[in-house]
């Protein structure tokens, strides 16, 4: 049996990849993808903890499904925003979208 820590390590690695993508990529689509990665890393955590610590209850799975739903809506809204921004500014580079500064 694969120990729990492996899953946690995997999840942490994916989270870090996602975090890096969200912070470091210029492309807004890539930032969105980084966020998706972080959410999914969290999902892995949730499922792993459920399976190893409390398999009797449905909580972990339900939580994961809610996170999927939220992630899907977030991706839909985020992509729509990005398309809208692209139409206006002809760019999706995050560092060029700096209208709201001092």
């Amino acid at each position: 049996m694969i120990p729990l820590s492996w899953y946690l390590v995997l999840a942490a690695a994916i989270f870090c990849v996602g975090l890096y993508g969200a912070l470091a990529r210029r492309n807004a689509v890539a930032i969105l993808m980084g966020i998706e990665l972080m959410l999914n890393a969290v999902n892995i955590n949730l499922i792993a903890f459920w399976r190893y610590l409390n398999p009797g209850s449905m909580g972990g799975q339900v939580f994961a499904i809610i996170v999927f739903a939220v992630a899907a809506s977030e991706a839909a809204v985020g992509l729509a925003l990005i398309i809208s921004i692209y139409r206006r500014r002809s760019t999706v580079a995050a560092d060029e979208l700096n209208l709201l500064k001092w």
Binding site: L19, A22, L23, A24, I31, A94, D95, L97, N98, L99, L100, K101, W102
Partner: protein, 719 residues
């Protein structure tokens, strides 16, 4: 219904009508005068019923109609309100009811009821060309209140209710004298009448207070019919001028009369009160107001004469009363001789006749004074209404002769000036004959008229008790009275007309003639009830009812004087001599010629014509200093100087303190702190705004750092 209830209800109908007219009925002239005359009729009927019953009581003086109820709790006891009809009130009730009723009916015609309203007439000014009075309903409301107040005063059983009626009459006289308030002279007269009578009222109120504090009651019978109370009051010293308490209170109450009954030195308001409509003059001078003053003196006769016995020397208070009365009688009669305004002559004759009554009361001739009050009310009301009728006729004549000048407005001649009249005998026979009767009664025409019997009784009393000064003054006044009365009659009615207006004058409406005739009957017959028993030939044919009726209420001295020929002869000589002289001097005065007296008397005439310059004297001594005090001292120095000055100083000081604080505290401290707070926030904002880079990923980094920090903190802090 008991008689007491009738008495209590007696003053109410006119009072109710006053409110009814003011609140609603004034829209309709016919309804208003019907209400007023109807209510006066009810009061009159009640008064007559009460009078008849009062006469029927065997010993009314000691068993009067009286009823009262607890009205106001006053600590230990109660102030009681109630009614009282004793011989004096019964007599007063009789003449008040008759004269008031006559005046009410007369007013309908006097104010041209039934004529259309002249579009030129304005409220507050007399109607010019025979149109109905613009404030017709209001007039009836006011005289209703007037009559109610007088009736209440007469039937009152205590000084408080009497004073209330007294003051309501003061208000009514103010309102009615100034009824034509559009005339400046009427406005001045109303204020003058009100203020002058007010002076007397202040003293009277002091007297009431003194009486209440001395006896603890204001009820007439408890004070005046109680020998012990009177004796105690007469014995107690007041501490003022050596007067007894009774004397002081009597004197204070008498000053109220001096104001109300227009005695010297407060006589000045009454002639000016002629500014009001003539029925008002009759109301004030005959039926109500001035009679109320004499009524008060007679009512308090036992108090004023407390400590005095029949035949003894007069007390100081009585001396003052007699002196003022006698002086006023003579003084006013001399002025009346030189007046040309028909109503002013009557006004001064009223003052003079009131002086007679006061003098009579002062020398202890209670019955004579009351009798003269009674007869005078009738013939003076008659004379006033007659003069109103004459003025009315003159105005009609004026309107008929000066048709062309209507647009110009104003009178070409003064319709009240006797020198523009003359010959009205033929144009206005009813007015002439009734005026003649009234005038003869006023002069004391022997045997026939009421005035003779009452005046003769006063003279006989003065002579019989040895008050020769009073007798002399009154006899001289009687001569002058007859003279100026005949002067008035001659100038007005005899001779030939002196102006076109007098040629075209005509009798007024029937509603004005009927009261004249009714009062004329009384002007003759009212005297028959008081013919002395010992009078030669006539005495005893009709019993001397007045003497028995009124004299019974006196504690002592009910006895009639023995007959003495001297006062009778003097009285007859004065009356006939004065009348003859008056006729002879004025029998033919041509139009435009001056008063024959002017040449005969020279400068004296000018003094008389100007009423001894009393108005000017008061103007200079009281009115102008009062204005000076008000305008210069009080308004100028005290108000504007001291009070305003203090206020301005406080205000100025406040301004300075404020300016100082603003400069050195507000601007410097408060504002600076406020500004610095603002500046700080502004500076902080300008520094911190650089955090807002607008780059999403930087925000994310910041978020990450803080989450990291919080997380680290939490882990570190865990125990």
């Amino acid at each position: 219904m008991t008689t007491e209830l009738w008495i209590a209800l007696l003053p109410l109908p006119p009072l109710v009508v006053f409110f009814a007219i003011l609140l609603g009925a004034h829209r309709n002239n016919r309804l208003s005068h019907r209400l007023a005359v109807g209510a006066m009729g009810i009061s009159w009927a009640l008064a007559m019923a009460v009078f008849v019953r009062a006469v029927g009581v065997a010993d009314l003086a000691h068993a009067p109609f009286a009823a009262s109820f607890n009205w106001l709790p006053t600590g230990a006891g109660w102030l009681r309100m109630g009614v009282l009809v004793d011989p004096l009130s019964a007599l007063a009730l009789f003449f008040v009811a008759w004269t008031c009723l006559g005046i009410f009916i007369y007013s309908i015609g006097y104010h041209n009821f039934g004529q259309p309203r002249d579009p030129h007439d304005q409220p507050g000014l007399p109607p010019h060309h025979g149109g109905v009075e613009p404030m017709y309903a209001r007039f009836f409301a006011f005289i209703s209140l007037f009559a109610a107040a007088m009736l209440a005063l007469v039937v009152s059983d205590n000084l408080l209710l009497l004073f209330i009626g007294w003051e309501i009459m003061g208000l009514c006289s103010y309102l009615l004298i100034g009824f034509w308030y559009g005339k400046p002279s009427a406005r001045e007269a109303m204020v003058k009448a009100f203020l002058t009578t007010r002076i007397g009222d202040v003293f009277m109120l002091l007297g009431i207070v003194a009486l209440y504090s001395a006896t603890g009651t204001l009820n007439f019978r408890e004070i005046l019919a109680n020998e012990q109370v009177l004796a105690a009051l007469a014995a107690a010293p007041s501490g003022v001028l050596g007067l007894s308490l009774a004397g002081l209170i009597g004197l204070l109450l008498f000053f109220g009369t001096v104001g109300k009954s227009a005695q010297w030195p407060l006589h000045v308001w009454l002639p000016d009160a002629m500014e009001g409509p003539t029925p008002v003059s009759a109301m004030i001078h005959a039926a109500t107001m001035v009679s109320a003053g004499v009524y008060l003196v007679l009512r308090f006769f036992p108090l004023i004469t407390a400590g005095w016995h029949e035949g003894a020397a007069l007390t100081p208070t009585m001396t003052v009363v007699a002196a003022i009365g006698a002086f006023t009688a003579l003084f006013a009669a001399t002025i009346a001789v030189a007046q040309n305004d028909i109503k002013r002559v009557l006004a001064y004759s009223t003052i003079s006749q009131l002086g007679y009554m006061i003098a009579a009361a002062g020398i202890g001739a209670y019955v004579a004074a009351a009798f003269h009050l009674f007869t005078h009310a009738f013939f003076k009301a008659l004379l006033f209404l007659g003069s109103g009728s004459v003025i009315h006729g003159m105005e009609a004549g004026e309107a008929a002769t000066s048709k062309g000048d209507h647009a110009a407005g104003g009178h070409a001649i003064d319709p009240q000036n006797m020198f523009s009249m003359g010959g009205l005998r033929k144009r206005m026979p009813v007015t002439f004959w009734t005026f003649l009767i009234g005038g003869f009664a006023l002069s004391g025409f022997p045997l026939l008229t009421a005035g003779f019997w009452s005046k003769d009784e006063i003279l006989a009393d003065a002579f019989g008790h040895g008050h020769m000064l009073v007798f002399g003054a009154l006899a001289a006044a009687a001569l002058l009275t007859a003279f100026y009365t005949m002067r008035q009659i001659s100038l007005t009615f005899l001779g030939s007309p002196r102006t076109p207006a007098a040629e075209h004058a005509h009798e007024p409406a029937w509603s004005m003639r009927i009261p004249l005739i009714g009062l004329a009957v009384f002007a003759i017959a009212a005297g028959w009830i008081g013919i002395p028993e010992h009078f030669p030939a006539l005495g005893g044919i009709i019993p001397n009812w007045v003497h028995g009726f009124l004299g019974a209420s006196l504690a002592e001295g009910g006895a009639e004087l023995a007959f003495s020929a001297t006062p009778l002869l003097v009285s007859v000589a004065a009356a006939l001599g004065g009348l003859t002289l008056g006729w002879w001097v004025y029998r033919r005065v041509a139009a435009g010629s001056p008063d024959p007296l002017e040449r005969a008397l020279g400068p004296v005439h000018r003094i008389l014509k100007n009423k001894y310059y009393f108005d000017e004297f008061y103007q200079d001594v009281f009115v102008r200093p009062a204005y000076w005090l008000a305008e210069t001292v009080v308004a100028g120095w005290i108000d504007r100087g001291i009070i305003d000055g203090t206020l301005h100083a406080i205000g100025g000081l406040s301004l300075r303190v404020g300016a100082f604080l603003r400069k050195w505290f507000d601007l410097l401290v408060i504002n600076a702190i406020g500004d610095q707070v603002g500046n700080l926030v502004k500076w902080g904002g300008s520094v911190l705004r650089f955090v807002q880079t607008g780059r999403v990923q930087q925000y994310l980094v910041v978020g990450l750092v803080f989450v990291g920090l919080v997380f680290t903190g939490l882990l570190l802090l865990r125990p």
